[in-house]
Symmetry: C2
Subunit: 245 residues, 2 copies
């Protein structure tokens, strides 16, 4: 779209907001600084319920949040995983479409929606940048549809681990030198909700992958990946070609 891919590093935020572009919006930054504020949430706290009025947009600074959908009888499906630097909120939308929950302690950098939308209306690059991000999310959602609709439980688990590894590597800007290892940011139940499985099946498949040496575990959350290509093969992804990011 344009090559202004440098992202805004705003004030004291430890993250770069992916929503706005630094090179062309330097004079707009002051406006953003004026309307921004921070909010903290505790692990387990619901940030917004589906259908609630949503008065802000923002980025995750630290911690993990999830987007989930629940049927009346309690069946749940996670439809989004929000890691640091991910954008939350829908400019042009009054209400949230899904439940947003903090699964760990969480800090967000928020902008009140109205002034943010005003900014968007006057600076075309912000809307374009947001469009680009939304298209990325849409692509990710569609990849996830393949996983939910067609992959086996084992492939689902392998996919989840490799996706977390990929996003982790992107986040820390490090190409893993030696052994690749990841911390799973979710409980078995949350993984199950993301993958369209039960927590028992998640546990069994993780055990199986461990037994066969595809991964190894240290504690419940810490996963080592001795051979990334092997894991990607188990995930059934074509042409991911081992490239992280």
């Amino acid at each position: 779209m344009n090559d202004h891919s440098v992202h805004v590093q705003c004030g004291e935020c430890p993250i770069r907001h992916r929503a706005v572009c630094a090179r062309c919006e330097t004079d707009e930054l002051a406006k953003l600084e004026q309307i921004k504020y921070y909010r903290s949430f505790q692990a387990g706290q619901t940030i917004i319920w589906s259908g609630d009025r949503m008065e802000f947009v923002g980025s995750v600074v630290t911690g993990i949040a999830t987007l989930t959908q629940t049927m009346e009888d309690g069946r749940r499906q996670m439809v989004g995983l929000l890691l640091p630097s991910d954008f939350v909120g829908r400019p042009g939308r009054a209400t949230a479409a899904f439940d947003v929950t903090a699964t760990t302690d969480l800090v967000m950098c928020c902008f009140r929606k109205k002034p943010f939308e005003d900014l968007m209306a006057t600076t075309p690059h912000v809307a374009q940048r947001l469009l680009e991000m939304t298209l990325d999310e849409l692509d990710a959602a569609r990849e996830w549809m393949l996983l939910l609709g067609r992959k086996t439980a084992r492939e689902k688990i392998a996919s989840l681990i490799s996706i977390i590894a990929r996003r982790d590597a992107a986040l820390h800007l490090k190409r893993a030198s030696g052994k690749l290892s990841v911390v799973l940011p979710l409980t078995r139940e949350e993984m199950a909700d993301y993958l369209g499985l039960t927590l028992e099946t998640v546990s069994r498949q993780i055990s199986a992958l461990k037994k066969e040496g595809v991964i190894s575990l240290e504690g419940n959350r810490h996963v080592q990946i001795p051979d990334l290509d092997r894991l990607l093969e188990e995930a059934g992804d074509d042409s991911d070609g081992g490239m992280l990011v």
Copy 2:
């Protein structure tokens, strides 16, 4: 975002393009007219392969197209269904992320990508309108994730029929007066690919819904819905409340 919800009716196109907004862009319409052209495709023809360079964006004028993803071993998942007035293409993206296929004979109204992007850069409302549409698609994709991950085969079928009924009603701007009836635009196999099932299961579940009077069939494709609320209940959707659109 803004209330300019009137859509462009461009030239001889029988549809209103949802991508651009008439009220505020009247002087931009001429530019769109200059760069637009039509393309026809035959039923079964692939419009773009995933990974191909994509030189245009556009809207479906008549016919049906699908977005699909295929694994090396042949497992397929449909990730999008494109009906007339739906937008195709990704401004700011060089290549297609999924296969786009015409499932019926199809006419599209296209705009070459470069000039369209230029237009977008100079007229903020176009980018905003596109963002709005992309957010809609993202919502739809996430609803679909709930379907793929958690619904039973019967619920999936009922959901598909009610979604087609809804979009049909929106398209024809008619609130069905008497009996509600829909033409399924997909073969059983295509439905299966959309729902993450096999074609046999699709067939069986349709037969079951018919036997129990939830729907009735005339030929293979024509479905009558005697009681929409009953169908929505079978679909497991909460709070859809029977409102079409």
